[in-house]
């Protein structure tokens, strides 16, 4: 089992979270949408696996490289 940290590429806030902890993910699945510079920034699963932990919730502020969630695969 490997754990993959999914990080934010941008400073901004969490707009919508589309998946819940425990959900199975295929590579490229949309996990959440961030908002930054008035744009919707999709956060997609970099690998297939199980979403083991969500580290943020809607309206949270996020920094660059902040860990948003963990995927076990």
């Amino acid at each position: 089992m490997a754990t993959t940290e999914v990080t934010s590429e941008v400073i901004g806030s969490v707009w919508k979270v589309e998946k819940a902890a425990g959900d199975a993910l295929a590579e490229g699945d949309l996990i959440m949408i961030l908002e930054s510079m008035k744009m919707e920034i999709p956060v997609e699963a970099p690998v297939a696996g199980t979403l083991s932990e969500l580290k943020v919730a809607p309206e949270d502020s996020v920094e660059e490289d902040q860990v948003l969630c963990l995927i076990e695969s």
Partner: protein, 531 residues
Amino acid sequence: MPDRKLEDGKGLWADQIDELARRRAFTAEMGGPENVARQHRAGRLTVRERIESVTDKGSFREIGTLAGTGEYDDDLKLKKLTPATYVAGTARIEGRPVAIGGEDFTVRGGTSFGAQRRKGGQGGYIEDLAHHYKMPLINLIDGAGGSVTSAKRRGFVVFPGVDGFERSVGLLGEVPVISAVLGTAAGGPAGRAILSHFSVMVEGTSQIFAAGPPVVKRSLGQTISKEELGGPQVAVKKAGSIHNVAETEDEAFAQIRRFLAFMPQNVWELPPVLPAEDPVNRREEALLGIVPERRTRPYDMKKLISLVVDRDSAFEIRPAYGRAVITMLARLGGRPVGIVANNPMIYGGAMDADAARKQIHFMELCDTFHIPLVFLVDVPGFMVGLKAEQEGTLREGMRVVYTAGQLKVPTLTMVIRKCYGMAGMATCNKNDIDLKLAWPSGEWGSLPVEGGVAAAFRREIAAADDPKAREKELEDELRAYTSPFRTAEALGVEEVIDPRETRPLLCDYIALAEQRLKIGLGPRARAGVAP
């Protein structure tokens, strides 16, 4: 009288020819089998293997083959020759002449060859050759520069800048200069790597810094590995000191050849045009589906570029640095172009300090070598926020505007979506005839309606019964004026086009630009003080 040598049964000049062969053999041995094996074990090629790999087979003609330090016996006969730490000469790449040189790490770690400055390094013979023969220069860098031990050999210490980088600096306005960092580069060789038009380093086997870990330890007390201090994570991604990273030395050589294919031999020539194999009239249906109608959704600008330029022609410069802007060399109808495109995936394409630096260097590169620029615009403005202000975004951003305003090379501006404010100004050269074209998704102005409304109508919105509804009402009212067709009515942009017409139109204008490029040949004039 018969020649004595012939009587001996030997050919004319036989001893001298033997000595030449012996001296050449010493040079070919480089630092000796053990040092060569150590270089290979470190995952690196020797400088001679590198030159063979990057240039056309058999085209290398060495200069200074015999330079080195000789050891002589009591009869003043040569016992041994330690070759100079730099190998240089001329060669061909795709048949075109280049000057090429690099440190030989197997000889004294590639440290400067104190006895003869012109053999290697900054201000060396190879740079003079590139200057006088007006051909590109390729630096294969694998050395740490001067060594304090050379002061002992020389008897004095040299003053910085005397026999320094004068030639390296001058070359940047004359011929393409390419640097590959292929080992640990510090000091002079590191500086020289930066004084180039394109630079590449190799993942895992190369590092670059002003000074390495021992100096850092001594100066700041910090313990840090050379990879942490100057590997690609720092030098390419964070600092942008080196443009591109390659997985292997061979890939670095491929990148050098790729870059060079877009460049003229010097600033007095036009860049090379290839036969147009991809139809110039190709209308790409997929372009219609790229930009989402919902304004807040980003899209893949790199895919857009790949649909427009000649198939497989794009070569991205600095993909890992300043990612809010994409800079690529590519071809349209076989003709080299420089693509500057905003990346809506990164902060909506807002220009930050890194993106600004990247765009400036790329525009100057294209302007210097007569490569027309195509801007594919989707920029909401300069990046905002405390971090952006601390990084000097405003000043760096205005340097882009300044540089764009001085471009002499033809520019074509194609607005894909947003083009706002001063960052928008940096996407075209308004002093000239250059065209501003737009897709129907294009929108522009001094500032976007959202936010702009909140600022300009602050009191009116606050006084309304339903402030949110009033703000929306005002936004909708003003947005009607932002239609690109209304600006086109006023000839504020020259054309609004169907996205599928993008490639045929750009190919045609780039072909038309040739006459303008021809009359602009020569070195680029410099004026003014950059902000």
